[in-house]
Symmetry: C2
Subunit: 369 residues, 2 copies
């Protein structure tokens, strides 16, 4: 009887595979695991490329491209590490051409292309990794921008219990992305929602709403008119903020409204924030791309800034090519005796830094002490 | 004076490009446009691969792989079409290996790999393309599944004006994904939120909430235990539905609760729906993977099904390898005199069909006539 049962099961599994296989058709070899993260924090990368002559990997934790080894089946592989817990970018280089890892569906989709991501966990989850705390919600909107005459995307994070605490009004952080990004990047790669969940769960901040708008506008996409944020400012103030205040229970008090951003978004933050001191009480500029604009003009009234702002926070990595512009800006703040917090830290122009900055910046916000 | 002004501008632009270029570093050639969709609905695909000997494209609207042409710089290209307005999958094949288009950030991320997507617009937006109607919101949740002991993802669509009509309770559709998918696919590729926006805006349906849960469970991922949906059923009924009913203003009436899904999700829909007639009033199964389970057992009480269900809707494409199983199921429904709507249509096992089915199914729901 047992034999018959096994035979029936075999026939069933054979038929199942036959029937279901079209569902998998055309999707490469599912048996190749890449990246494979080992328990000791080493990582193995694999790529099937039998005809390639040279395959390398460019991965953020290695100084230069690392050559991969080919087996007789044409499967190239390399094991690297152990490395520190972090989210790292990588890409394969096949005979000189960048190729995304076909076995890894997690990519950082940039405006024109993509890099794969690999996440390394330590013994305990890091500040940007999901912990055993209550989780908030990320909301994806499309809104009609009257000021720009187009329909645009907008992401909003609400804290845990937002949906059930129906009488609470929350403070709100407007969080801006970089030149190569769109409105999903602060969650997809920046993990703003998880960082906020962990800070709230760990009682390091009060619950807050985070609004992540789309930073490009019809006349300023990419390098075009870089440094002119008039359209963005108009959309943010006349469309995004009213939309958020209509849809969400957010406080209308400027002491409950902050703005921050990275790179291009840092430049937008300083321009829009310092030009609208009646709207924003807290400003944070991460690795800002301070070019194409007279920023001293924004600092023309030091006394007013000191009076109106609760916090002006500037951060930049020592290995960032934008460090010079940020240092100049900080010197101007010092010269004009404008109160601020400046943080020149380790790191380059990259997401690992911006996740850390956000984790440091949020707990400083909305304090009344 | 004009000359000097131009020179200053040139210097500025040169410096700007120099300063900002690190923001673009490592992201391939931004000057390659691929795919380029022309106004006449032809499409040009391009790939820089100077060392490749043969580059082809596999694109859904062409019968077989199409050979691309190489120019002296090693840029391969091909122009195809004109084609009907639709979202098409494609992938490059470089010397026999599938390679995603590095110039196109829109990919359908499958469990183990990705295919690029290209969207063709007609003169008017199609039913799955953004129209001039009010837009709803897509909400991304992480919830603790007590029944599975893990934290899982969940997408929820709410209709336009949900946030402001604070006294309305909405009917709700539970919409399940396929074997290769995760919980974001019904929005990212299926465009469920846009289809719903357009149907609501066009008065073809009343506003509804759509809940898109994650369909894999710890003991049934992929082919493992395919056909055993016990864990999924437990999570849906004991965790997902209570979570939604706590967070959202949805009607608790079963005449306001529908379930549908595609492929694996279609099989889950039939199993969970027909086993829980006290919970669901409307059932829709799209291209269902009816294997590994005695479905006639679910049809053991025809009278009860006819009494309890408002609608049982079955659809499958003529070119789908799962057509046989669906035809058998429909024959059983006929034999047992169970009321249903069956739709055998043009099409294969693919998203263009499932978008059409959803667009046809939603307007049938929640009617009281």
């Amino acid at each position: 009887m047992r034999t018959i049962k096994i035979h029936c099961m075999s026939v069933f599994l054979f038929l199942l595979a036959f029937i279901v296989s079209p569902l998998y058709a055309g999707f490469g070899r599912p048996d190749i695991k890449s990246p494979e993260v080992h328990n000791d924090r080493r990582v193995t990368f694999r790529l099937l490329a039998p005809k390639a002559e040279k395959v390398e990997i460019n991965v953020r934790f290695a100084e230069k491209n690392q050559p991969m080894q080919k087996d007789p089946d044409g499967l190239w592989s390399i094991t690297l590490g152990p490395v520190e817990p972090e989210i790292y970018e990588y890409i394969f280089i096949v005979d000189g051409q960048e190729v995304a890892d076909p076995s890894n569906p997690w990519l950082k989709l940039w405006r024109s292309t993509a890099k794969n991501l690999v996440e390394i966990h330590g013994n305990e989850p890091m500040f940007f990794q999901e912990q055993q705390v209550p989780h908030g919600t990320v909301h994806i909107h499309r809104y009609n921008s009257k000021s720009l005459g187009v329909t645009r995307g907008l992401y909003v994070y609400t804290p845990p219990e937002y949906e059930t605490n129906r009488d609470t009004k929350y403070p709100v952080l407007y969080l801006l992305h970089g030149l190569g990004d769109i409105e999903d990047k602060w969650t997809d790669v920046g993990r703003a929602h998880i960082i906020a969940d962990n800070l709230i769960g760990g009682k390091k901040t009060l619950p807050l709403v985070i609004v992540m708008p789309y930073g490009h506008t019809p006349n300023t996409a990419g390098f075009k008119n870089f440094g002119n944020w008039d359209e963005f400012e108009k959309d943010l103030i006349e469309d995004v903020i009213p939309f958020v205040q209509e849809k969400y229970r957010v406080s209308p008090d400027k002491k409950d409204r902050a703005i921050s951003g990275l790179s291009m978004g840092g430049a937008q933050t300083l321009t829009v924030g310092l030009s609208n001191l009646e709207l924003f009480g807290w400003i944070g500029a991460f690795s800002s791309a301070l070019v194409g604009r007279q920023y001293d003009q924004l600092l023309a009234e030091p006394d007013k800034i000191n009076e109106e702002l609760e916090l002006l926070w500037i951060g930049c990595g020592r290995d960032d090519s934008l460090l010079g512009g940020n240092r100049n800006f900080i010197e101007q703040l010092d010269f004009k005796k404008i109160k601020h917090v400046s943080r020149i830290t380790d790191g380059a122009h990259e997401w690992s830094l911006w996740r850390r900055y956000l984790n440091e910046f949020i707990p400083l916000l909305f304090r009344r002490d």
